[in-house]
Amino acid sequence: MKELMKGNEAIAEAAIRGGCRAFFGYPITPQNEIPEYMSWRLFEVGGTFVQAESEVASINMLYGACGAGARAMTSSSSPGISLMQEGISYICCAQVPCVIVNMVRGGPGLGGIQPAQGDYFQATKGGGHGDYHMIVYGPSSVQECVNIMYEAFDVADKYRVPVMILGDGMLGQIMEPVELPPMKDLSNLPKKEWATDGTGKGKDRRIINSLLINPDDLEAHNNYMLTVYEEIAKNETRYEEYMTEDAEIVLTAYGTVARIAKSAVNIMRANGMKVGLIRPITVYPFPNKAYKDLAEKASVKEFVCVELSVGQMIEDVKLATEGKKPVKFFGRNGGNVMSPEDIVAYVTKEA
């Protein structure tokens, strides 16, 4: 039988089953169930938990722990993730694999505590200083959170880049039936030869570092990372299409908004309208080719990008569709969430 679990708690349990053995975090609504769950659960599996003095400290503890080779994570919500940007930039440069959960709330500033998607740019374009990317997932259900989190540490380790799970307040709070995977066997994981696990001696010692003071070295490093990002785009890009075969209007949205859009598609299909949906599961790397292919279909007349922000993902949609078809925008923000009927009303009137 499936279990009924809150998004935040399911993510925490899936992380542990995926091998997470350390958590560093600071309280912020609406993701507190994650640290609360971790604070007792990790000790049951021989792990460790620190309630840090700030998000700044959390991300740096994560850098230390993952630099030493552990599977570790942090979670926060928008203002806290902003505080972590410096650390994320260092982590990306030092190639330290780790997992970061952002249950996005309304912003900017202290903003609100209700669901939003205003951190899309920050998550997918870098966010901190310098040239870098993370692998960013935008799951739309509790089960998808579980599935992605379960594999997140393997993906992060494979490429030595951080994985971010970009949710929203709704996804953290919603309860849904989930099937949890079994505990991963951690005894057979590939050894992290680069990790500062303390055993390094003399010439074989390891250094985790993001200082490349010689311009040639830094340029070579950044160029190397480009090849990593290309490899990630090739192997890890994920998306879902729904009723796009004959669609004239293609809705696009990620995360929980995508399922609201899916309901809107169902309503409009029942009304005889040819509407479909494309949903990026990885918002970085963005599924450019899938969008381009849709844009090139004669049947597709236009796209409608639906977001809980003032228009962020729409820029990637426009880039990916290369101006071949118009891209319209429908969004709510500030913590307000559209209903399927709101989307139907917009499409009926504007599209």
Partner: protein, 246 residues
């Protein structure tokens, strides 16, 4: 030929980049010698700061992580928590530790993380060119207080040992200085004691080392050591501020 002296194997052969008369080199060697003496090789991780000691990862001959400015105690916490079998130390300067990293050092100490922090206090931002530090003495000149630090305008210097000694988490806190041979020997003893506290899993250990910066103080090396001995030592008294014995 008989070998009468050898550099400790816990330092690499990389030439130090420190200025003439700077005591960072002595501090590095003392820490490295202690690491060798306690048999830490093969189970030790160091954390380098941002500041003059930013390249410490090139000098300590063990696994090293380079931290963001001020965050070394957080990074060390992460390392120690997931590899408790390791000796974990952070090496930080005064801007790094007592200014931008004040929250991290206080909370690592308060939690009683089983790490050792070596704190180099030379009352100045060296790497960036001699700006006022949180530990700059009243009346001492710096590039951001050119007439000398004025408490009204610039605030007051911070005594880290005294501050941290008010907390429950630390098990050993001592301030030492590097202005003559006798004090160098005392400093090594203190550093060894701090690491021993970690080996014995007692708590957070902290050694503040009063150090010289002739370059940014505008002094000769001798004048600089004399400044440590007189002005600095007057304001920052040497001694043990906390020792948990049981």
């Amino acid at each position: 030929m008989a070998v009468v002296f050898e550099k400790t194997k816990m330092l690499t052969d990389a030439p130090l980049h420190y200025c003439p008369g700077c005591t960072h080199g002595i501090a590095h060697r003392l820490v490295a010698e202690v690491l060798e003496e306690i048999g830490a090789e093969g189970h030790v991780v160091g954390v380098a700061p941002v500041g003059c000691a930013v390249f410490a990862y090139n000098y300590f001959n063990c696994d090293m992580q380079e931290a963001a400015h001020g965050r070394a105690p957080a990074v060390a916490t992460g390392i120690k928590r997931v590899t408790p079998q390791n000796i974990v130390f952070a090496y930080q300067g005064d801007g790094d530790l007592a200014s931008i990293g004040m929250a991290e050092i206080v909370h690592a100490a308060a939690r009683g993380e089983k790490i050792t922090v070596i704190f180099i206090n030379n009352t100045i931002y060296g790497m960036t060119g001699g700006q006022m530090a949180p530990t700059t003495l009243i009346g001492e000149k710096a590039t951001t207080c050119i007439y000398g630090r004025d408490a009204e305008k610039n605030g007051n210097p911070i005594k880290m040992c005294e501050l941290l000694a008010t907390l429950t988490g630390p098990s050993y806190i001592e301030r030492v200085a590097l202005y003559d041979a006798a004090h160098v020997r005392m400093a090594k003893k203190a550093i060894k004691k701090a690491f021993t506290h970690q080996v014995e899993n007692r708590g957070f250990s902290f050694i503040e080392i009063l150090s010289s910066c002739p370059t940014n103080w505008g002094m000769t090396p001798e004048q600089a050591l004399a400044f440590v001995k007189t002005d600095m030592q007057n304001f920052y008294p040497l001694g043990v501020f906390k020792e948990v014995t049981e």
